[in-house]
């Protein structure tokens, strides 16, 4: 018998929304006694009590006092909090009480899909999850790292796992930022089996880290018979990371993008992070260069002033000019601004249209060489033009049947 008799998880208090607090105390005899206080008692009290009984049966809890203080938590959150509280009492119990997979969550991703915006969501704050996808980011990141307090890491893993199952991401790429290794390796079994698309590796300083993550993922995939690809996005956040960036970018063919994180990087240099960003120009350019050398995407850091939309726009335009293809977002309202700023200009679209038309004309005529006016056009130029067209269509600047 373990020493710990009481396990709890979740949040309590008057300001808590869409979350709950669960406390389980194992008792001797007396059966299950549960007490529920819920903001939605008249509407879903019965469902919540049913869930408690089902979970007790599942984990074979026979005798316990269970307290639930609920401030409108959705079922996936209630279940995650219950399981986290229980696992504090029985950490060796490997059974998992999984919510059923949302039927809309089976879609896959591609290595070179567009990643203009990725929205960070703190891994222990369920109130943000359900509507995040409505704001149409290219990717949603459930963050287990910096946004989660050390004491909440366990709870967050169950919540993130249940979120991957239950919550509709509305087509956004499904990403999780794991903790720094070695802790991050333990995060993987909570997410890999649930159709995660991209794992973000924080504070990456070596190709070994990337390979360790890849190996662990492969093991979990094999155990769970998963064939879908899971890609990696290492984040460069230190001086050493910048130096090793090419090694990291080319460590595995699963690496789809290289991101830069400037808060930690400037701290590592011992300098202030400024809006002009002169102090990080070297790091950003190096990351772009390493990413392009490895033929993957370069993704810029987040813009942290959520009220300054003009500043954000300028920052994205600058990132674009350096060669970045994506930006981190910490508020949903940043997404549209980022997309607009990454969108091609009218001039760029016109040029791209000519190139793509010339290319298809040449292809139709069986010509190996494409030319536009007096200029010869090579393959990378065509590819970039096609990318511009794709962006233009996505931003509603061009009809998708423009060439018909």
């Amino acid at each position: 018998m373990l020493g710990v008799k009481k396990g709890s998880a979740g949040k309590r208090g008057n300001n808590v929304r869409s979350d709950c607090f669960v406390e389980i105390e194992l008792t001797k005899g007396k059966g299950i006694k549960s007490s529920l206080q819920s903001k939605v008692n008249s509407m879903y009290g019965q469902d919540i009590n049913d869930l408690i009984i089902t979970m007790c049966d599942f984990f074979e809890i026979k005798h316990a006092e269970i307290l639930v203080e609920d401030n409108g938590a959705l079922p996936f959150t209630l279940a995650a909090r219950f399981e986290a509280a229980y696992k504090k009492l029985r950490p060796d119990d490997t059974r998992e009480f999984l919510p059923s997979m949302n039927k809309n969550n089976y879609y896959l991703t591609q290595k070179d899909r567009m990643r203009r915006s990725r929205l960070y969501l703190p891994g222990n704050e369920p109130k943000f999850y359900t509507n995040a996808g409505l704001h149409k980011p290219d990717g949603i990141i459930l963050d287990l790292e910096d946004s989660v307090a050390p004491s909440e890491k366990d709870s967050a893993r169950y919540l993130v796992r249940n979120t991957l199952c239950s919550v509709d991401f509305y087509g956004a790429e499904r990403m999780v930022r794991i903790n720094q290794l070695p802790m991050g390796l333990n995060d993987l079994k909570f997410v890999v089996p649930h159709n995660v698309h991209v794992i973000l590796i924080p504070k990456c300083e070596s190709s070994i880290t990337v390979k360790d993550v890849e190996e662990e993922i492969n093991m979990i995939k094999a155990m769970n018979n998963i064939s879908a690809e899971i890609y990696l996005m290492p984040i460069i956040e230190s001086a050493l990371g910048v130096v090793k960036s090419y090694e990291i970018a080319s460590a595995s063919d699963k690496v789809c993008a290289l991101a830069v994180g400037l808060e930690d990087y400037t701290a590592d240099l011992g300098v202030e992070r400024t809006n002009e960003g002169r102090e990080s120009l070297y790091a950003r350019s190096t990351v772009v260069n390493s990413a392009k050398a490895a033929r993957i995407q370069a993704i810029d850091t987040v813009f942290s002033d959520v009220d300054d939309m003009e500043g954000l726009r300028a920052s994205v335009l600058e990132a674009k000019s350096l060669g970045f293809e994506g930006k981190g977002c910490i508020h949903p309202r940043q997404i549209q601004v980022v997309h607009d700023a990454f969108a091609p200009s009218v001039k760029e679209i016109e040029k791209a249209k000519k190139i793509v038309l010339a290319f298809s004309e040449a292809e139709k005529n069986g010509l190996g060489v494409v030319s536009l006016g007096s200029k010869m056009i090579d393959a990378p130029v065509v590819k970039r033009a096609q990318h511009t067209i794709e962006l233009a269509i996505l931003n509603c600047l061009l009809d998708k049947n423009w060439n018909k």
Partner: protein, 518 residues
């Protein structure tokens, strides 16, 4: 209590507080054959010829007014959550040993939960007005002695002029007044903007007491309330807490979901052709509503057009709109922030309106039906586009109606609601309390999509090729039920015990609110 089924299929009492009631007959179906009431003729000889009606304190004024057990006392809510006068008024009434007052406010606020003690001890018999927050909870739990009556702002004017509610004494808090009783709300330390909600009270009450904390020599200009209606004037040190009367500034919502709803609304209004030169709409002070103003502003600037008038609820955002030349007029029923008060004082195009001009259904027309679009909130809506604005899905009465019912008559009524709150679905099969019949509600906008009332084929046609997320209401409901974990259980209430009723704009009874089983 005998309950009868009205035209909306809702059970309502046939008698409330010994007064026979007319059940709701349908939208625009009931026509009263009565005449507007008269007040007794007064002569100038009964009043001081020098115009000085000042009485030394409120207690004396109430005595002179003939305060008795069982009377109806009215107050207005322009001081909002900063109102301290109403609490002092009932302290005074209590100290005089008076019982069983019918309190008839134009609305109540959280500050008035102080009055629960007087509901408990019988000083106040019941409330006809709004029962918000703690008073709503008190009422819902069946603790109020009489049955509450909820009316819209227009319905309140209608009930007074039609004689449904006879006000014995009106106590009008006035941020500035002169000894004759002329009063306004745009000057003085307690300035709150217009005093339109006190208009009917001043016109129809037997006795009218103006209470001010800024007594100026005659004339008090402008006279939003005319001294010719006023019996007594009382000068006090303060009416309330100015910081809670108007906020320093009203703040825009930061909620991404509300902003998304606001953006959808503005784009929708543009795509269906509402946003054109000379248009009008009804604004408000809720977070989503303020955000709509900003999104509309961008569209108007881009198109180079302006509105003819915007009805408020005025705030700095509306004032800025007028200052930038994007609307000719603000027609303002109540002023929410200091900028609004300043603008109403200084700008002749920022005009005070009253429930008579804006909302009264028993008049020869009103402004509310003339606006091109109104954007309103709701606690719940249902798949038939009915909406509830007074109670929550657990059955508790927590809000008043305000001008909400009256605004439903706009040319395009848009309800802005989140599709769920925490775990509470907002689109139900049937609303808990019916406040707005679905036939008057044209569009429901949520963060998950825009549902258009199938009756509005013109709107459906206008957005046929739109990139906006136009969906059926049932489809959004289904998605939200899946998110929340199924269909919510109905509130646990005692269907035999009515604690309050909701009146329709014509004075008929639209729905009942029942005692919650605790």
């Amino acid at each position: 209590m005998k309950l009868i089924k009205n035209a909306a299929g809702r059970l309502v009492p046939s008698i409330i507080s010994n007064q026979k009631q007319i059940p709701f007959k349908g939208v625009d179906k009931f026509k009263s054959k009565k005449r507007i009431i008269y007040t007794p003729i007064k002569t100038c000889a009964e009043y001081p010829a020098d115009g000085n009606k000042v009485i030394k304190n409120l207690k004396d004024a109430l005595k002179k007014a003939g305060l008795k057990d069982g009377m109806t006392i009215s107050t207005h809510h322009h001081l909002r959550n900063g109102d301290q006068l109403t609490n002092v008024l009932f302290d005074t009434i209590h100290s005089m040993g008076i019982k069983n007052i019918r309190w008839f406010p134009s609305a109540s606020f959280p500050c008035h939960s102080y009055l629960i003690r007087y509901l408990r001890d019988g000083t106040i018999h019941h409330i006809e007005g709004s029962m918000n927050g703690p008073i709503g909870k008190f009422t819902s739990e069946g603790k109020m002695k009489g049955v509450g009556v909820l009316r819209s702002h227009g319905g309140r004017y209608q009930s007074i002029q039609d004689g449904e509610v006879h006000i014995d004494i009106a106590v009008i808090a006035a941020p500035t007044a002169d000894p004759f009783g002329n009063a306004n709300g745009v000057q003085g330390k307690s300035a709150c903007g217009g005093l339109g909600f006190a208009l009917a009270d001043s016109e129809y009450a037997d006795k009218v007491i103006v209470v001010t904390d800024n007594l100026v020599p005659f004339p008090c200009v402008p006279w939003q309330i005319q001294g010719n209606h006023v019996d007594y004037v009382v000068h006090v040190d303060f009416l309330g807490d100015p910081s809670k009367i108007v906020s320093g500034t009203t703040e825009m919502t930061k909620s991404p979901d509300r902003l998304l709803i606001a953006e959808y609304i503005a784009k929708f209004m543009d795509e269906v052709g509402i946003v054109k030169d000379g248009f009008s709409y009804q604004a408000g002070a809720g977070g989503t509503n303020l955000a709509v103003i900003l999104f509309l502003k961008e569209i108007m600037k881009k198109k180079g057009i302006k509105a003819r008038f915007i009805r408020g609820g005025s705030t700095k955002y509306l004032v800025e709109l007028m200052q930038e030349g994007l609307t000719d007029y603000i027609l303002d029923g109540q002023t929410f922030d200091l900028e609004g008060v300043r603008s109403m004082r200084d700008n002749p195009n920022h005009v005070m309106t009253s429930p008579f001009t804006s909302y009264n259904y028993h008049g020869k027309g009103n402004f509310a039906s003339m606006v091109d679009a109104a954007i309103l909130g709701a606690t719940e809506v249902d798949v038939n586009f009915n909406a509830n604005v007074v109670s929550h899905s657990d059955g508790y009465l927590l809000h008043g109606i305000g001008g909400w019912q009256n605004c439903l008559y706009s040319k395009c009524t848009i309800i802005a609601v989140p599709s769920f709150r925490d775990r509470i679905p907002v689109i139900l099969d049937e609303v808990t309390t019916l406040c707005g019949p679905g036939e008057l509600i044209d569009v429901i906008v949520t963060e998950r999509g825009i549902a258009i009332n199938p009756k509005r084929k013109d709107l459906l046609n206008a957005v046929r090729n739109s990139s906006l997320p136009i969906r059926s209401i049932k489809e959004i409901q289904k998605e939200v039920y899946e998110i929340c974990g199924g269909v919510p259980a109905k509130p646990n209430v005692n269907k035999k015990k009515v604690v309050a009723v909701v009146k329709w704009v014509d004075g008929t009874v639209l729905d009942s609110i029942y005692k919650v089983n605790v």
